[in-house]
Amino acid sequence: MGSLHPILQADNIQKAFGAVRALNAVSFAVERGEIRALCGENGAGKSTLVKLLTGVHRPDSGEILVDGKPRHYRSPRDSQADGIAFVSQELSIVPHLSILGNIWLGHRDVPLLHRRQALRRKAAEALSVVGLDALPLNTMAGTLALGERQLLEIARMFARDARVFLLDEPTATLSDGEIARVFDALRRLRQAGRSVIFITHRLAEVFDICDTVTVLRNGSLVTQAEVAGLEREQLIELMLGRPLGQMYPPAGEPGGATVLQVEGLRIPGQVADLTFEARAGQVVCLSGQIGSGAGEAVRAIGGLVYDMHGTVRVRGKRLVTGSVASALQANVRFVSEDRARDGIFLTLPVRTNLVATQLDRVTRAGLVSRRAICERSLSACERVGIDHARLESRADELSGGNQQKIAVGRSLTDEDFGVLLMNEPTRGVDVGARAEIYALMRRICQQGYCIIMMSTDIEEVAGMADMVITMYRGRQVGSYSRSDISRSRILADITNTAAAREAA
């Protein structure tokens, strides 16, 4: 019974916000026991589709069917009653409640919780599906690691008889080990006959775990296909609507003068010992997972870590440890991976953002020259490719790609050399804009800069780096120049697995 119809189906759905057509005649179906990837660039309509399926928005036309029956959701509550559960990126786990309390939080039987064996049993069952059964039910949720919280969130939905799980970039903030656990949980969900809709920016994950893939582009359905019959390049092309071509620009000429020398860099508890050199025109990648210390090392070079040991020299001149001012004087500038936290000034206009860190250059005797600000912000716009019309917009109205351009743009100075430190240069930047950021990074290199970047994305590392330094738990594992870079070796180094090395 019921197997004739897909468990969840969207039929010819249209949705517009004002003049913007977000979804155009999209049909889409999820079968029982499948993991379906939902792919597309930012703005392709993925989140709109999810919001329609979960009842946050209502379609202008078209229908949503569950078990073949049309449903008209007015709120997420209605869709949850039908077993459609949304697992968001921002987890809604309450840290001061136990695991059991979190699972049944907001459920109508909660006041009787401690007496109801059935609820305990059901919670335990859900936890074993996601692989958290080793933990006692009264463990405080606040003591769980990020990945475990993600699992708990899934268990919570499972215990409430969810049949379709919508996961929006569940792996964005997790380490590889944690991702493996989440994937195991998803596979067990599949075994239990539940369905999963999986949104991700990481294409490798589509091939790792998904059975089928739906690709959206500009609000229209591009394809629905079995993952097994699909090539990676094909998938990217489908998402972009054009050949991937030059995702990564060609590397520049090696052999500039040595700009940066890092010797014996040590941060207690985070980085054990790091030594390397970088030449003008080079992109040097520190590659490592969360906990490898690579990101901290990059910050330390920029003077942002106080208890750093070792020396950093720029053109032979030693920088003062833990001093941003000293780094800036040597034209060493840091572009953060977390733009909202310490990257750019979201509430201020783009123009102010572009001159924020170079106020001295637009000031005379303590007075700011508006004219100088205009000239400088315009030239920065031109260098990084931001539309002039957006100069007066607030920074938080721009896309992730444009925000990243702001962060890079304000770090560029008139000097003919410099060091740009970038952590996760394309986090939160969609596939199309990524190519622009990469091209921009190359252009900057050609101007005599050298770029030290840290990335957990191996593909990005392999595509951009002129030199890769792999790190594992604060230690430098290997160092490869352009011709020796191989993904499998990097992966083996940063996960500390010899097995993967042999597979190469």
């Binding site: 000034f345 924020a356 106020l359 303590g366 315009l378």
Partner: protein
């Protein structure tokens, strides 16, 4: 040539931003207009004694509010001790009035400056919570002045400060002082490097730090500016009552932060201006004056100001989302 004419094409996003900003401006504008209509229609509002009293209050609270604006803009929310600082300054001014108005005034400003700079150092260098520091300072100031002055009121000798009771072309001198303070404050914000840094630090402290802006210096400078304007308010206070006493400063902080918020400066910092605060001050002062004219009790004043501040802060939340 005006530099801002360089780039002016409108974008949808910018329109939206403008719309959200102008919503506040419109709400405040409408409320001001309504208030002024009521004011003009109220018998006794447009009379010389009332207007002089009004401008006196307005200038006094206004100068404190300008100081408060610098604290709020820099991301330090507010201070609870500006009223006490102002009163302490007024006592010193009164005490030194024998030695001449200028010297007394300078000493008053210097005292306020020192009190605020010390707080700025504590907050900037040790990352102490600004609200707690200001509450502790309030207590310290009250204690020290009580010890030094023995709880007495100190009278201004003779007519040392008569300059501030005079009128220039019919305009009361305190009002001129306030207008000058607004101009100076606004110029500091808009055209100095300090002003830019203050807004940046208020907008995103971490990003400012990463960007190489010395956050503690900026914080100290913000508190110094607050001290400067509060000190000026202290002189006005001494001139107005002909004496200095700790009693006089009570409630200034609340009126000042009300004015800042009603004017539309973001409570979290990073957005706002002295000019906006000026509108807020006028609004609050006219409202208080009207309440007095209608013979309403003090509790009604508190009630109404409370409601207005609540409305202002809700409006901020709305325009953000």
């Amino acid at each position: 040539m005006n530099a801002s004419t360089f780039v002016r094409p409108a974008s949808a996003a910018r329109e939206k931003y403008r719309a959200s900003m102008s919503m506040h401006a419109m709400a405040v504008g409408c409320a001001m207009a309504a208030l002024l209509v009521v004011a003009v229609l109220t018998p006794g509002f447009i009379s010389l004694p009332n207007l002089i009293a009004l401008t006196g209050t307005l200038s006094l609270i206004g100068c404190v509010a300008i100081g408060m604006t610098f604290i709020t803009l820099g991301g330090n929310i507010m201070s609870f001790c500006l009223g006490a600082t102002c009163a302490a300054a007024s006592m010193l001014v009164a005490h030194l009035s024998d030695a001449g108005a200028w010297l007394a005034g300078l000493a008053g400003v210097a005292l306020a400056l020192v009190i605020m700079v010390v707080q700025g150092l504590v907050i900037g260098l040790f990352r102490a919570n600004p609200l707690i520091v200001s509450i502790a300072s309030l207590s310290l100031i009250l204690g020290v002045t009580q010890y030094v002055a023995g709880g007495q009121t100190i009278y201004v000798s003779g007519d040392a400060l008569s300059m501030l009771k005079s009128r220039v072309l019919g305009v009361p001198a305190p009002l001129l002082v306030f207008v000058a303070a607004v101009v100076v404050g606004e110029l500091m914000l808009r055209f100095t490097r300090f002003g830019y840094k203050l807004i940046l630090v208020g907008s995103n402290f971490e990003a400012a730090e990463v960007g190489g802006i010395s956050t503690w210096r900026t914080t100290v400078a913000a508190y110094a500016a607050a001290g400067l304007f509060t000190g000026v308010a202290g002189i006005l206070l001494a001139a107005r009552y002909g004496s200095g006493s700790m009693e006089f400063g009570v409630g200034f902080d609340y009126s000042a932060i009300s004015a800042v918020l009603v004017g539309g400066t973001a409570i979290g910092g990073g957005q706002g201006s002295v000019l906006r605060t000026m509108f807020g001050v006028v609004f609050i002062a006219v409202m208080q004056s009207l309440l007095l004219l209608y013979g309403l009790d003090v509790q009604f004043q508190y009630l109404l100001i409370g409601l207005v501040v609540l409305a202002a802060i809700l409006l901020q939340v709305r325009s953000k989302s």
